[in-house]
């Protein structure tokens, strides 16, 4: 239970990372931001450093900033949203977090503050040297302190539950198998696979990852490192379905609901295509950038690293991406099928702009009447297991189905 004194320590830790006074707190915005809103921001800043304001007044002003910028973030297309509104949203989160942590012994304030930081990290733009990232680190320290006792009990239960699902993996026929090679040199990878754009499974190249060794990724480990953090989750069988949607859950909630199926939910949930490692730096330290990425032309910083974490049965429908991809398997296994761009004419891509990179065909259950040519399209397949890294050449069609609880990391590079 949170005592008044521990909340006071929390506030002093957070104060320490904030600018020392009002004059050092930057509030610079372009003319896009209306003066009326700047007025609210200045009031929030005053209240941050003054003692006169009430907690509800701080909370209300922070919420005004959040509500206003949320409406701006939802205007037009995401790509075109002025970065100012994302910064504004982050400021709103900062003021809200400050208001939550400042007073009141309520134990609920800390999880709410963590969630608020995450919303700022997910939807906002970095402000004040990424202060939300710094603050969430402080808050996680508080969360870990108070939940230490409960950890040991739940471990046993979870391991038992997971043993239920272990479907038989598909048998991979030799002639259709994606070739495998162990620790190729940069040159041979470049010559034999990258330049000719041929898929291959690289073995042994991530054996040194902490995620597979000292910090071996498991449900318990993920809970301890990220349990209270909020992440986007895809709900529904596949993103081409009408019922598909996205929601925000904490990692704990996602594990309880969609991995362990605690409340008997029947649908699938997938923590997919999310830059989790930017959000949670501890996890970033457990992985490494594959050396072969240096064969590309881009900066290291431009490489997109995504997490793919979910139960057995998650499906990514047959589609292609505009960059090279290294798909590293860390936990569990996935069945993957690959089609060459040369055979696109047999794959019936959607016509719409939104889904033009996605095939209309369900790869493992094709409707042969609607899509007669599909059966004639040649493909390669594999079962990707922990330690394997699949090279998916740019624009190569791929279909992925998890066979059991799975955690993969993808690297999109050019």
């Amino acid at each position: 239970m949170k005592t008044c004194s521990s909340m006071a320590t929390l506030w002093s830790k957070i104060s320490a990372v904030l600018p020392p006074g009002e004059e050092q707190f930057p509030l610079q915005f372009s003319d896009t931001v209306e003066s009326s809103l700047v007025d609210v921001l200045k009031r929030s800043r005053r209240q941050l450093y003054g003692d006169a304001a009430s907690s509800s007044s701080r909370a209300i002003d922070a919420q005004i900033i959040l509500d206003f910028s949320w409406e701006k973030l939802n205007t037009g297309t995401w790509r075109h949203v002025d970065k100012e509104w994302r910064r504004l949203y982050a400021y709103g989160c900062l003021f809200k977090v400050a208001a939550l942590c400042r007073e009141g012994p309520s134990a609920d304030n800390v999880p709410q503050a963590v969630r608020t930081c995450d919303m700022g990290l997910l939807m906002g733009a970095a402000i004040m040297d990424n202060i939300l990232q710094v603050i969430v680190g402080i808050l996680q320290g508080e969360v870990r302190k108070s939940s230490k006792e409960e950890d040991d009990k739940t471990e046993q239960v979870e391991v038992k539950r997971l043993k239920i699902e272990c479907p038989r993996a598909p048998v991979i026929r030799g002639e259709l198998a994606v070739p495998r090679v162990k620790c190729p040199s940069l040159e041979s990878f470049n010559t034999n696979h990258l330049l000719p754009l041929k898929p291959v499974i690289l073995e042994g190249i991530i054996d040194h990852w902490p995620a597979l060794n000292g910090h071996r990724w498991s449900i318990e480990y993920l809970r301890s490192v990220a349990g209270c953090r909020t992440v986007p989750v895809e709900v529904g069988s596949r993103y081409t379905d009408e019922e598909w949607s996205q929601t925000l859950l904490t990692v704990d909630e996602f594990i309880d609901r969609y991995i362990l199926n605690e409340d008997g939910v029947t649908g699938l949930g997938y923590l997919a295509q999310h830059q989790l490692f930017d959000q949670i730096p501890e996890l970033k330290e457990d992985i490494r950038l594959p050396d072969y990425c240096c064969l590309g032309e881009e900066d290291e910083d431009d490489i997109t690293v995504n997490a793919w974490f979910g139960p057995g049965g998650t499906v990514s429908p047959l589609h292609h991406d505009p960059q090279q991809n290294f798909l590293a398997q860390v936990v569990g296994s996935k069945y993957i099928r690959l089609y060459s761009p040369e055979d696109t004419d047999k794959l019936y891509p959607h016509q719409s702009q939104l889904l033009h990179n996605t095939s209309q065909v369900e790869a493992e259950n094709p409707d042969t009447e609607r899509f007669p040519d599909f059966a004639a399209a040649p493909y390669l397949e594999c079962v990707l297991r922990p330690g394997d890294v699949l090279f998916i050449p740019v624009r190569h069609w791929h279909y992925v189905r998890s066979l059991e609880l799975s955690f993969s990391v993808s690297f999109w590079w050019s």
Partner: protein, 383 residues
């Protein structure tokens, strides 16, 4: 005619905020979120008499009251309004003789018999930032100006201010949302254009339109008025039926909203259990939730009711029936629905306050996060 306002009041645009710096926590909330209809005090004219407010227009942070009898003038309340000399917290804008006005967050547009002016509200300037001459209106030159419509086009909320409209459209009235527009033609047909990402254009998809495109689903029906919210559109047929389309994430269409139900569930479970927890979807078996309505849908506001006028805020809707009731629905977290609570609703509900006070609602206009209703006494209405 008296005006009542409720909802967002952080800038004192409904009623002036107290000056106390050490406001008790309850007071601040009550000041920023006016949850029950509160009378908007009229402005004192030169003669010392209270002027009648004929019309109110509201933006996010301000309210413009139009006094159009005798000393026609426009008074502004809210952000930047003078608080020293005026007792009721408004400042009078240079507007003698103006016949209509509209207000956005950045500009105040005034219509005079011979010209239109747009004033930049962020700068204290002596002259309008933009103006346009008007041809003198005579009886035969067609329907009177109906802001934002003007001869040959309309006045937009951001530059370029004057945009032309094809005369073929025979524009009768126009409503402008943040990123889309809806036009009512003399024929009763409805056209929309602008951003379509949330179904707000009513053509059945999510694509945007650069040019006015007829809403075919309403073909054959005569519409009599149109309104826009941030991401939704509303129109009234000449028979008094209400049609809605666009985004429904806060229930602003009056259709079942999944997001809203989830949020309300979470709120009540938080209060009950004292801790944030994810409640399993206890959605009633057969209910269909709508987050985007891409085609117009007929909304049953209240049984056997004809709608007289409608207005929308960014995420809420307010409709007045011919029998003098005000119904509101949609986002309500600032009290903009007027039901004495700070919650949203995806079902139209009557604002009981006016019935209880025996007031007959005759008009409604919404600011971004608030609502203003014009009323007359019941006896006057039925006489």
């Amino acid at each position: 005619m008296r005006w009542f306002g409720f909802g967002f009041n952080a800038f004192g645009q409904i009623r002036v905020r107290g000056r106390a710096t050490s406001a008790a926590s309850g007071d601040v909330a009550a000041e920023v979120k006016v949850i029950g209809p509160t009378e908007v005090t009229g402005h004192e004219g030169r003669s010392g008499r209270r002027l009648k407010t004929c019309r109110i227009k509201a933006s996010w942070s301000r309210r413009a009251s139009l006094h159009l009898n005798g000393d026609s003038c426009v008074c502004l309340a809210g952000f930047g309004a003078a608080t020293s000399d005026e007792s009721c917290g408004v400042s009078v804008v240079v507007s003698r003789g103006c016949t209509d006005a509209s207000i956005g967050e950045l500009h105040l547009t005034l219509v005079f018999p011979d010209r239109i002016e747009s004033w930049d509200l962020q700068k204290k300037e002596e002259t309008p930032s933009w103006s346009m001459e008007l041809e003198p209106q005579s009886e035969s030159s067609g329907p009177p100006l109906n802001l934002p419509l003007v001869t040959g086009g309309y006045i937009a909320t951001k530059p370029p201010f004057y945009r032309s409209l094809s005369p073929h459209l025979k524009a009768k009235s126009l409503a402008l949302g943040a990123e889309h527009a809806i036009l009512l033609c003399a024929t009763g047909a409805v056209y929309t254009w602008g951003l379509g990402s949330h179904g707000q254009l009513g053509h059945g998809g999510l694509t945007s339109e650069e040019e006015p495109r007829a809403v075919e689903a309403l073909w054959g029906m005569t519409m009599s008025s149109v309104a826009t919210g941030g991401w939704h559109s509303v129109c009234i047929s000449d028979g008094g039926d209400l049609y809605v389309w666009g985004w429904n994430e806060s229930g602003q269409l009056g259709l079942p909203s999944r997001g809203l139900r989830k949020a309300l569930q979470q709120q009540s479970s938080q209060q009950a259990a004292g801790a944030a927890c994810q409640v399993a979807d206890s959605s009633p078996g057969e209910e269909v939730f709508i987050s985007i309505q891409a085609f117009p849908a007929l909304l049953d506001v209240a049984p056997s009711c004809e709608i007289r006028t409608v207005s929308c805020g960014s995420r809420h809707t307010a409709a007045v029936t011919t029998t003098g009731d005000l119904y509101t629905w949609g986002w309500g977290e600032y009290g903009q629905l007027g039901h004495q609570k700070l919650i949203s609703s995806d079902e139209p509900k009557c604002v009981e306050f006016f019935r209880e006070q025996q007031l007959h609602v005759v008009d409604v206009t919404c600011g971004t996060w608030n609502t203003f209703a014009a009323v007359i006494a019941e006896e006057v209405a039925s006489s």
